[in-house]
């Protein structure tokens, strides 16, 4: 039958490929190669997880949001407040609590917001985040207000690995493990019928309605799962660094993660990895070399990507490979 190759391609699409081990091998290698940069490395891992959560809604479901830091912040404040007010400093259950709180915030806000789309949706996501930020600012007896909550400490991971305030060794491996787990969730979803239906919604929402798909429910589900994962990222951030302040909820973080995902390539799982590493390493090195003008270099680089690599760096790689094999 002539359809056979297409059937086989579809049946094989979700299989793990050899190069999918590379990011994790690189992650472990960095632990040994750059022992003095593990605090920075932990930040990169947290950002990858955050960008990955955004990829589920932006890249797969096509929901454009400028307020994703709302969920990062919800997770961050959850573990922060649990530790500061109730002495709940066990890290793993903290992650679960953060995922639940952020997921519920995503579910409720998504249920209301996702009736709109386009610019209206963009503005409403922004407003939701601003509301949470103001709430965190106003209820200062709970959240520490503008100053946030510094000096939080957490119990050893699994009761074995102490958080390493100086070199971030355990934090780095902890973040890497959490990222691996969350990545497995996102990857499974992406290749499932649920994930394919999100892609269908992104590609043609009118047709999804016409094939009888519960479009709104699918979008809200994706939004809530994505929010929960963003909450986990925020929680790891707070557990690793030991503080939480208003910056976790800010527009800068929300816009930053959007730029990172678009830079790496959205809707393709590994765009989050490439985008976060390239952006943060550039930011780190440029800001050291040119303390006053580094943002100019970063800006020019981003403009080049936006103009000449519409599908991000990974998309650029695809195009180059196609040109190479066409020769």
């Amino acid at each position: 039958m002539s359809a056979l190759p297409a059937l086989q391609a579809l049946a094989a699409r979700h299989r793990l490929r050899w190069w999918e081990a590379l990011p994790w091998a690189a992650g472990v290698a960095c632990f040994f190669l750059f022992p003095n940069y593990l605090a920075f490395g932990t930040q990169v891992l947290v950002t990858i997880l955050f960008a990955l959560s955004l990829d589920l809604v932006l890249g797969y479901a096509g929901i454009v949001t400028l307020g994703h830091a709302a969920f990062f912040g919800a997770g961050a404040y959850t573990v922060g407040m649990l530790a500061a007010h109730w002495g709940w400093t066990e890290p793993l259950s903290g992650l679960v609590a953060a995922a639940l709180v952020a997921g519920v915030v995503g579910l409720l806000s998504g249920w209301v917001l996702l009736r709109t789309h386009g610019l209206t949706l963009l503005m409403l996501t922004l407003c939701t985040m601003a509301l949470l930020e103001q709430a965190a600012n106003m209820f200062s007896s709970w959240t520490g207000g503008f100053d946030g909550m510094p000096g939080l400490s957490y119990r050893p991971i699994l009761g074995l690995f102490e958080f390493d305030v100086l070199y971030f060794r355990s934090q780095y491996l902890y973040a890497l493990a959490v990222l691996l787990l969350c990545f497995a969730v996102v990857r499974t979803l992406a290749y499932s019928p649920f994930g394919r239906s999100l892609t269908g919604i992104r590609e043609n929402v009118l047709r999804m309605h016409a094939v009888g798909a519960p479009v709104h429910a699918r979008q809200v589900t994706a939004y809530a799962v994505s929010a929960a994962l963003a909450g986990v990222a925020g929680a790891v951030f707070v557990q690793a660094t030991g503080y939480v302040n208003l910056a976790v909820l800010g527009l800068e973080r929300a816009a930053g993660v959007l730029i990172i995902l678009i830079l790496g390539g959205h809707g393709r799982l590994y765009g989050a990895f490439v985008g976060a590493v390239v952006y943060m390493v550039l930011e780190h090195t440029l800001s050291k070399a040119y303390p006053t003008a580094w943002q100019l270099g970063l800006g020019i680089g981003l403009m080049l990507v936006a103009l000449y690599a519409r599908n991000g760096l990974l998309g650029l790689g695809d195009a180059l490979r196609r040109r190479w094999s066409a020769r």
Partner: protein
């Protein structure tokens, strides 16, 4: 009278002062090959939108198998067997032909929300989609991205997605629109080869296609049922010729 498979009773819809469906009583029998024709702006696509639940009527009823579905949402009606295609392609352009149909089949089998097992391993979904492609002779294109296909083939994918829903009623909204005449025979063959147990309502401007295909023709003018009958009756109806067919068939 036995109930028709799909029926409307005194269906009305207006947009402000504009009456786009005016007291329409319409019957589509099981296994029918029925055409709906009418001049531009007669309300044909609006009628499809009323049947499928995209828009709600101002008054009147829509019955499927004698059961009132007027208040059912679009998705519910799809589950009960009303599928449609679009006048302008509404496809998942970035996905392959096979995946386009898989999405429809998965929704019909209530597997579209599954989160664990990969889509490619749901063999009953994939096999069913492959079978639909086979009936439309699209198998050779199964692995190609829809956006890479010539327009005529894309029109076939429109129909394939609808067939993936295993409909009892298939509403084809101008299936031949925009197809170059050299390719139109592919579409004619596909429509002629549709399973007999599906009731088909075709909305079309191409009179050759209508008269080749339809056993019954309804003429809609300004949202009102103007005439209905066999192709011979409609072709011989002088008023219809004046209103719609005009010089094209006279001369």
């Amino acid at each position: 009278m036995i109930p028709a498979l799909l029926e409307t009773q005194a269906l009305c819809r207006s947009f402000g002062a504009l009456q786009v469906a005016n007291n329409v009583d319409f019957r589509l029998e099981a296994g029918a090959r029925h055409a709906l024709i009418g001049p531009n702006g007669a309300g044909k696509t609006t009628f499809v939108n009323l049947l499928t639940g995209v828009i709600a009527p101002s008054s009147g009823r829509v019955l499927l198998d004698g059961e009132d579905v007027t208040r059912l949402a679009q998705a519910r009606r799809v589950q009960r067997g009303i599928a449609r295609t679009f006048q302008i392609n509404q496809l998942f352009r970035g996905l392959t032909v096979l995946e386009n149909v898989c999405i429809a089949v998965a929704e019909r089998m209530r597997a579209g929300g599954g989160m664990l097992r990969p889509a490619g391993r749901r063999t009953h979904v994939v096999d069913e989609a492959a079978r639909v492609l086979e009936t439309l002779r699209l198998s050779a294109d199964a692995g190609r991205r829809v956006s890479e296909l010539p327009y005529g083939r894309q029109r076939l994918v429109e129909i394939a997605i609808a067939l993936g829903l295993a409909p009892r009623v298939l509403l084809l909204d101008e299936p031949a629109a925009g197809i170059p005449s050299a390719e139109s025979h592919i579409l004619l063959d596909a429509i002629a080869g549709l399973p007999r147990d599906i009731a088909v309502l075709i909305i079309e401007h191409d009179m050759d296609l209508v008269f080749r295909f339809a056993q019954r023709i309804t003429v809609l003018v300004s949202g009102t049922l103007f005439a209905e009958g066999t192709p011979a009756e409609i072709a011989g109806n002088r008023e219809v010729r004046e209103v719609y067919l005009g010089a094209a068939r006279d001369g």
